[in-house]
């Protein structure tokens, strides 16, 4: 691993799902990077492939299949890694927090046990003995598990679960939604990850809890230098937290760049549309804006720009041709065949 390499480098990722109606092309050639210690947001509507992209990174895309492209984490390609390597990566490098905390914790095990397990995996991902994890007496080191449970309490404290000492024996159903998501965060932190993937971590929570949790993620990023890949449909969250943003539409990256520039000066018609939909930007008393039309169903490979049917600038070429990537200033780029719409120099078309 060399330092100039990005922590996570996704190149031309394609993830497909086989369904009865045909092959769903959930991710169609997404490329992006996450550097050490930065917070990158992936934004998109439902069905834009953002969750599948995230799941592919930690190799939980099943029943989908990564058909092409590469995902390099700390220099190793995880798309070709074996089970052992993946266990090491998940236990010691990359952690994920999911959307709905009511279903992501195992209901029959104590929360502290579920965190303790993560600590145990982190310590030694290679030798995981079933009987040890089942706490079968002669095969399981009780004092080690007791120690892990104590550290689990510390982690619960660290992620802001109130009175963790009293909750050592608590089960997930005894936790509120916000506390469960914090517990998920503790399970992630137990592995001291370099990269935290958070898939809409606050969507299922109250607004106040949302803010606290995001604050917590930001602190972890600043204090521990943990990089974060944040998946959301909420541009507000992106503006609040992220350094860079990737706009995903129908499994393709429409535009990417630094958050500051992109939110003030969106170039791609889709990014502009998204920003115009924010209620803050609409004058009071007038109708909230929306982008007409729907997200395509993703069945079949599709041709041209996926946003063309909903784009007001679309011309014939948009519906058929290959969309080039256009370099914009400040290291940004956008996928569009009409540089004039992007307000870009035609010479920067790749």
């Amino acid at each position: 691993m060399t330092d100039d390499r990005p922590l996570l480098e996704v190149t031309d990722l394609q993830t497909h799902f086989e369904t009865d109606e045909g092959t769903v092309h959930a991710v169609k050639g997404a490329s992006f990077t996450v550097e050490q210690g930065e917070i990158v947001g992936i934004v998109g509507e439902s069905g834009s492939g953002k969750s599948v992209t995230a799941l592919s990174c930690i190799r939980l895309e099943e029943p989908g299949e990564i058909v092409s492209g590469s995902i390099r984490f700390r220099g190793t390609d995880v798309t070709t890694a074996d089970e052992r390597r993946l266990r090491r990566m998940r236990g010691q490098g990359m952690a994920m927090v999911f959307q709905d905390p009511t279903t992501t914790l195992n209901p029959v095990f104590r929360v502290s046990e579920q965190i303790a397990e993560a600590l145990k995996v982190h310590e030694d991902p290679d030798s995981q003995r079933l009987l040890d994890y089942l706490h079968v007496p002669p095969f399981s080191d009780r004092s080690d598990w007791a120690d892990k449970r104590r550290r689990a309490v510390d982690l619960m404290h660290e992620v802001g679960i109130p009175n963790p000492d009293e909750r050592v024996d608590a089960y997930p159903h005894e936790f509120s939604g916000g506390m469960r998501q914090r517990a998920m965060l503790a399970i992630a932190l137990a592995r001291e990850p370099d990269l935290l993937i958070a898939d809409e971590p606050t969507t299922a929570l109250d607004v106040t809890i949302q803010a606290q949790l995001l604050e917590r993620i930001r602190n972890l990023n600043q204090d521990l230098g943990m990089a974060v890949l944040l998946i959301t449909h909420d541009l507000g969250v992106i503006a609040e937290l992220c350094d860079r943003v990737i706009v995903l539409y129908d499994g393709e990256v429409m535009e990417r760049g630094s958050v500051d520039r992109m939110l003030i000066d969106p170039r791609h018609p889709y990014t502009r549309g998204l920003l115009e939909c924010l209620p803050q930007t609409t004058p009071r008393q007038s109708r909230l804006s929306s982008i007409d039309g729907e997200v395509p169903d993703q069945i079949g490979p599709g041709s041209g720009c996926p946003f063309a049917p909903r784009c007001e600038y679309a011309v014939e070429e948009c519906r058929t041709g290959e969309m080039p990537r256009v370099r914009l200033e400040d290291g940004r780029d956008a996928k569009c065949c009409r540089p004039e719409v992007l307000d870009a120099d035609p010479a920067e078309v790749e």
Binding site: I58, L60, E83, L86, R87, R88, M89, R90, G91, Q92, A95, M96, F98, D100, T103, T104, L105, N106, P107, V108, F109, E117, A118, V121, H122, P125, Q128, L130, Y133, L134, Y171, H173, M184, I187, R191
Partner: protein, 314 residues
């Protein structure tokens, strides 16, 4: 938890009252005078009116039915299930003597069932649509549809007569227990396998399984710890209900293998119209059934922390 058991105990009293009335009534309303039948059996000739009257008086058969019931219940509550019409041994003693043999068979059968069904159900779910799944599905179909007595005879023919590995009949040693336990256990194994398979398939779709995998846990731990514990919840409920099946099956298996036990005792008593034994056995079996269901309920609450002993669920 104690309140839960207490509440269940109260309802059990009512259930057992119902059972006792039914068992008692079953004997009273069965056509044929037991005095006449038993005496004819004992003396091998038509009994005299005198002898019948004497028998009825001795066994309290002339009292009004409610009085007979109360007498019987009073004895039952003291642990006295009455006196057999034929044998000198009290019914309670006869049942206790035979109970051990049936309990041994039942426990062995459940063990056989679990040893077969847990791996079969889990492997079947993990490899859906592949060869191990088809094999286990076919096996459980056979297990469910093959009657106990037939399987018992098949096993006797193959393993006792042909291969001479196990004795044809008898009880007391482990070798004599193997074939009956396999016969009785395989049917239960088939049911548990099918249940566990579908339960595992449901659970493996759950999001917390994704969480477990994302932690970097080995697939074996994900399956046998995280999924299995959850998949057990519906299975345990059904296994408790299978206890009745076990007792029914034990009757047949005991006859096929000529084992002593509650089953053979029951059949002998029914054919001999030895009503005190029938009454006593039915009552004991009902108690066993009810208690085993209570135990399952308690176990169920330990496996699933969401169900609490005070009756509420979340």
């Amino acid at each position: 938890m104690y309140r839960f058991i207490l509440r269940r105990a109260v309802s059990i009293v009512f259930v057992l009252f119902g059972v006792s009335v039914t068992t008692f009534g079953m004997v009273v309303f069965t056509p044929g005078d037991p005095a006449e039948i038993v005496l004819r059996e004992q003396t091998a000739q038509n009994p005299s009116q005198e002898a019948i009257r004497e028998f009825r008086a001795e066994h309290g058969l002339d009292d009004p039915i409610p009085v007979q019931y109360l007498d019987w219940m009073a004895d039952v509550l003291r642990g006295d299930l009455g006196q057999s019409y034929y044998h000198d041994t009290p019914v309670t003693t006869m049942i206790i003597r035979r109970f051990g043999d049936t309990a041994e068979l039942a426990v062995a059968a459940i063990l056989v069932a679990l040893v077969i069904s847990i791996p079969a159900g889990v492997i079947s779910a993990v490899h859906t649509g592949e060869l191990p799944d088809h094999a286990s599905q076919l096996g459980s179909l056979l297990g469910v549809s093959m009657p106990n007595f037939w399987l018992g005879y098949l096993l006797i023919v193959v393993f006792s007569l042909y291969l001479e590995l196990f004795p044809v009949s008898g009880a007391g040693t482990v070798r004599e227990l193997v074939l009956p336990a396999v016969t009785l256990g395989s049917g239960i194994a088939a049911i548990i396998t099918r249940l566990l398979r579908s339960s595992m398939l449901d659970v493996l779709e759950a999001e917390y399984i994704g969480t477990a995998r994302s932690k970097g846990l080995r697939e074996r731990i994900v399956v046998y710890k995280h999924a299995f514990r959850n998949a057990l919840i519906p299975v345990v409920t059904i296994v408790g209900l299978q206890f009745g099946y076990l007792l029914n099956g034990a009757v047949i298996v005991e006859i096929v293998f000529q084992r002593p036990g509650l089953g053979t005792l029951l059949i002998e008593a029914i054919f001999a119209r030895d009503y005190p034994i029938v009454q006593g056995l039915v009552l004991v079996i009902a108690v066993l059934f009810v208690v085993s269901n209570l135990l399952v309920d308690v176990a169920y609450r330990y496996i699933d922390p969401r169900i609490r002993f005070d009756g509420g669920t979340r």
